[in-house]
Symmetry: C2
Subunit: 282 residues, 2 copies
């Protein structure tokens, strides 16, 4: 496995074989089974797999969240080596944002709601760093988890609008056995909070169940989710959403598909989860 902190190191290895197809898995490290599933999908479809490990400061609106974000580079590298990854980029912040850095990529509409409403400038940080990752690795495919549903929507819009010559592959959310979506932030949950954290998945499942049994009104599904979350006494709701899966506009009636999504603080740890319900319109 080839590990570089510099851009020139990545480029040299990336272009050693011009004909190879590359898959890229961007991460912020502290890897879990969710990241590894992305690596496995990338291996299936490409000749080579690159991974970036970079806790991107400009996508954190809360400095405490950035400081507390868990890190363990040695463990990450050993996991990636075992997973057969070819190339890893582990840049320091000043390689990604050198002195006098001043360029930003902004997706204006779909980045303003949900996570974007709660975390101003978050997606501007995400799209800027992802544009840079695309240019550093120049992959044929890039792999993102459905866990960050809005991130997928925003990055797809950026790829489409700026004509990046690559394909975004969305991979399913990986869950603990009790349904909690895997997240590097889960380690920050106390034992009690960890138990209550399953309320997000239970709320989504209950809303899906209601939808599948004929409830098409978004307000009913929001109420179903609200009732379950409020039973958890450590939970503080940021948002409960039933939205169009592409425009992210809140729905009244679900015609075809909808994106159910939640952001909930359990104690002081902010968790998100989501589920797509219904069939795509054909």
């Amino acid at each position: 496995m080839n590990v570089f902190s510099t851009i020139s190191g990545i480029r040299q290895y990336r272009w050693a074989d011009h004909a190879a197809m590359w898959g890229l898995v961007p991460t912020m490290g502290y890897l879990h089974e969710g990241h590894l599933s992305l690596v496995r999908y990338a291996h299936q479809e490409n000749d080579r797999v690159g991974v970036s490990i970079f806790v991107n400061p400009i996508q954190f609106n809360n400095p405490n969240d950035l400081t507390n974000y868990p890190r363990d580079l040695d463990r990450d590298l050993s996991i990636l080596e075992q997973a057969g990854v070819d190339l890893v980029w582990t840049p320091s912040p000043d390689v990604v944002y050198p002195p006098n850095y001043q360029t930003f990529v902004e997706v204006e509409k779909v980045s303003k709601v949900l996570e974007g409403a709660s975390r101003p400038s978050h997606f501007r940080g995400v799209t800027t760093v992802v544009a840079k990752l695309f240019n550093v690795f120049q992959p044929h495919r890039a792999y993102f988890g459905q866990k960050d549903a809005q991130q997928v929507v925003v990055i797809k819009q950026m790829i489409h609008d700026l004509n990046f010559n690559l394909e975004l592959i969305t991979c399913p959310t990986i869950r603990e056995t009790d349904g909690l979506a895997m997240s590097s932030r889960n380690v920050r949950l106390s034992a009690n909070a960890r138990q209550q954290a399953t309320c997000l998945y239970r709320a989504l499942t209950a809303a899906k169940c209601a939808f599948d049994s004929g409830h098409k009104k978004a307000a009913e599904l929001r109420a179903t989710m609200l009732a379950i979350i409020t039973q958890a006494n450590l939970a503080r709701i940021d948002y409960i959403s039933v939205a169009h899966p592409e425009t992210l506009a809140e729905l009244e009636i679900i015609e075809n598909q909808a994106l159910l999504s939640l952001a909930v603080f359990i104690d002081d740890v902010r968790l998100i989860d989501n589920m797509i319900i219904g069939e795509p319109c054909s």
Copy 2:
């Protein structure tokens, strides 16, 4: 010569030979000797040359300027064919900015002064469309004229910050025999205005001459340029600048190099010109 309006057409031809080195010359059409010099430089350094012809609506802050921008696609294509260009992209606005378009690239500091102060959102339009052109053509080198000095500075900053894997080549300003910098907008000058339009080049030359004979104070050079421009009774000054060639900060004393630049309305036609003076610091 292969001419396409679609992105897929460009990509298919661009990648027909993976090993070929590509040079890109982005233009807004109505081609003159300045554009052709860029094509010639591109031919010298690359196996293939691509040209884009697109009057980019989002970089015009003045709707009249957009409406009045001269266009002649048939003439442009015949000129490019004669110049031996391989690939031309002639997209319509809705190919470049399809419905629901919402992504923009912004260079924050160097795009705010000079042209950016006079034409808000101009460079945001430039950097967005140039990022798209880079992704559509994926060239090894891109050619821009020194005539648009700030545009070169802004795009270089974007390439550096977003890690575009290509080299920007700046080519010298091409001038009429009386010194007027070639510009597609020159056709809009009346006979009288055309004559007075040489005041920009005369002002720059006089300032350079003063600098070369020992005048290092920027204020003196600005005064030299001002005196010459104000002699032209059709001239209305937008800005007169003596700035650092990279940061574009206005200078007091010229230590090494300076960018002299001017924006002047002659009648109602806005003209720009510039000159770099001094030696780069070694």
